[in-house]
Symmetry: C3
Subunit: 109 residues, 3 copies
């Protein structure tokens, strides 16, 4: 048994939850802030057999990998026209920081 | 030293806290959601000497073990009479998912 | 790699955050309650190379160590004059409970 602790961005949290359930992983979520990633993140604790650690990591990677996203320009109405960008800009979103910890005992009561 | 991480249902959380204090265990509680158990759960982190791990697990088991509970029927007033159950029903409540982790160092400042 | 879990008092949390950033440690914070310390504490999860564990522990110790603090007397206005203490009193504040856990894998996606 291993305990996987994964810190992911809030925007990827629901998708990751669904993907874990779909593949029969059970996770507990903690609301966390700052540090590893930009603020607004969620920490997942996932208990799993050794044999399925790689599968869990793959699911986290697929659903949370850092990637560039095109963000539509925001109209300068009510803002500063000087900072108006008239074309979509790329920003990096997502990303995950993952720890795999050994477990001495795993019990369910 | 070991670190025990226990995810329990909210309804058992206060009773477990009190039982741990009574037996001189010290715990930190995290509000957590979903996954291991029905939503609304609390995660306890309990640091303890190796010699007292079994005692801590026993306290968690006694206070949080999954069990059937009789729930009184709810009056159909204001609800759907078709779904009215005129006798108490058994529902499963409680339960705990517990990880025991090795600790390399334990310090208090 | 190690995972350091540190439970500290809320009043030391911001100072610790800043000191960790200043020394290039990355931490995730969890709001936690009770147990190891008086209620109102924050749990830091800090991932770090083995070589920097001692530095991280030193930063936690410096910023969170239990210490006596002089508290100014509170005016008895609106309170009970019998309990008025006309000179500063020393109270213990701060303190940290720290676990250092082994990590089998550390990944960033
Ligand atoms: Ni799949
Ligand atoms: Ni007892
Ligand atoms: Ni320094």
């Amino acid at each position: 048994m291993k305990l996987i602790i994964a810190v992911v961005q809030d925007q990827d949290s629901n998708r990751l939850s669904n993907a874990l359930v779909e593949h029969n992983f059970r996770a507990t979520k903690l609301a966390t802030t700052g540090g590893f990633l930009k603020s607004g993140n969620t920490t997942f604790m996932i208990g799993t057999d050794d044999a399925r650690v790689e599968k869990a990591l793959e699911i986290i990677r697929i659903n949370c990998k850092a990637r560039d996203q095109l963000v539509a320009p925001v109209s300068p109405m009510g803002g500063n026209a000087d900072s108006y960008v008239p074309y979509p800009v790329e920003v990096e979103v997502g990303g995950a920081t993952v720890f795999v910890l050994p477990i001495e005992q795993f019990l369910q009561f």
